[in-house]
Amino acid sequence: MSVRLSAIPGLPPLLACFGLLALWEMAARVAGIAGLPPAHAALSELPAILSDPEALLNILHSIRRMSIGFVLALAIAVPLGLAMGRSRIVAAFFNPLLMMIYPVPKAALMPIIMLWLGIGDAPKTLVIFLGVSLPIIYHAYQGARAVEEKILWSAAAMGMTPRWQLLRIVLPAALPEIFVGVRTGLVLALITMVTSEMIARQAGVGNILFNSLDMAQYDAVYATILIIAALGFGLDLAIERLRSWLLAWAEPVYQIAVGTA
């Protein structure tokens, strides 16, 4: 019975959600402190937030900034990673620099970048771009490096130019690896988005979160956390769907997220 239940796609995560909510409800009842309202209180606050046009606009702006940063990162990081994977010189040029940037907390650059670019969308988008680029570069590099040399030799023997080789052979061959990077990058984009808004505090989801905290609207705090959590899970699911649709031919790559905010 349990085997058949878990075979239904989407059911185990759904059950896990209900289980976590029930656990939260129980913990809140047992603890009985104002800072941890029961799950049903936070859930009943959700419609109020989602129907408030200002809150909705804030959330949409956050998503817009994240998408712009993400697409820019994709446009630059994938070619760079592929070039690094195919040329020793390019790899030697960029590797030490990337290694140095890797442990810098990107969202912590916010105050400095805000000095230069003001407090608008630009610093937040830039920080998201920086955070997302690194894992995508890393995975595109690993993917391009692992391409079978013989395939490239055959292509060259048949008269394919290097540019076409990169586009028709290296890119598709590296695509499964690139998707690992994209998935990590997505989680990072969300983290950086929320953190940058928590640090700059004038717009976005992170700002709603801390405003409710300051005004002691604890139900709203938890409802906003639920919205962000749902966003993270939903986007991750979408990337996974896209991957299995584009890469039905490849074996699924299970890999741990190599990434940092």
Binding site: F93, L97, P103, Y218, I228
Partner: protein, 257 residues
């Protein structure tokens, strides 16, 4: 071969030198006022000065304490959870969907809730670090332990080892490379998260120093904690690599990547 290696190192130093040169040029030519971009020499001499300052080291020590406390909790929960999920099918079936739901959630969003429940002091920051670092360690341990050659376990069981014994004395050591990779990723994540948590709300630690400097427009002092935490990340990563190489002596080469 060594000449080629030297060439590559030289090529790699080039962009870093270029950036430092550009920074120096912008700052000293007066195109960027020092209040926006201090000269690199000012930043690095301040960094050296601060490393001899006991008050600064105190802040760094607080940050390090939170980092290691959170990381230790994450390693404890992650490794135990991963091993038990491999050992017991029921627990694995329970854990997998929960991780599937929780892993893509940006954990910083939980920070306000952690503040409300655990207070503004150490506990909420340590909890956030642990929450962020636990998932890579858990996933790496689970993947590592479930990929262990079953014949090894069967041999141990046939030789009279109990299931628990086989799990901790055969499966866990065999999965060590994967576990250590997860731990290294968790360590760098801890380093970053502790800094961010201190930036969002704190009265001490390196992250607080950055925000404090930003509020009083002390640009030089904004760069110093940022460079410190990045150096800390590099040093921790390098020392973990050394530890990993030592622990994995005798493992096949590609395992210790």
């Amino acid at each position: 071969m060594t000449r080629r290696r030297a060439c590559e190192v030289l090529v790699g130093v080039l962009p870093i030198a270029l950036i430092l040169g550009l920074w120096h040029g912008l700052a000293t030519s007066g195109m960027a006022p020092p209040s926006l971009l201090p000269a690199p020499r000012a930043v690095f001499s301040r960094l050296v000065e601060q490393f001899a300052n006991p008050a600064y080291l105190q802040h760094a020590a607080i940050t390090l304490f939170r980092l290691f406390a959170g990381f230790a909790i994450a390693v404890g929960i992650g490794v135990t959870g991963g091993v038990v999920a491999t050992g017991s099918a029921a627990f694995g079936a329970l854990l997998r969907p929960v991780v599937r739901v929780l892993a893509p959630v940006p954990k910083v969003a939980l920070y306000p809730a952690l503040i409300l429940v655990l207070g503004f002091e150490h506990a909420s920051k340590i909890a956030l670090v642990a929450a962020d670092a636990v998932f890579p360690i858990l996933l790496a341990t689970y993947q590592g332990t479930s990929a262990v050659e079953p014949k090894l376990v069967w041999s141990a069981l046939a030789a009279g080892a109990s299931r628990r014994n086989a799990l901790f004395n055969v499966v866990l050591p065999a999965a060590l490379p994967s576990v250590l990779t997860g731990c290294r990723i968790g360590l760098v994540i801890s380093c970053i998260v502790v800094f961010l948590a201190e930036m969002i709300t704190s009265t001490n630690g390196l992250g607080h120093l950055l925000i404090y400097a930003a509020r009083s427009f002390e640009t030089v002092d904004m760069f110093v904690p940022l460079i410190t935490i990045s150096l800390l990340g590099l040093v921790l990563n390098a020392s973990f690599n050394a530890l990993q190489r030592w622990l994995l002596l005798g493992f096949p080469q590609e395992a210790s990547r």
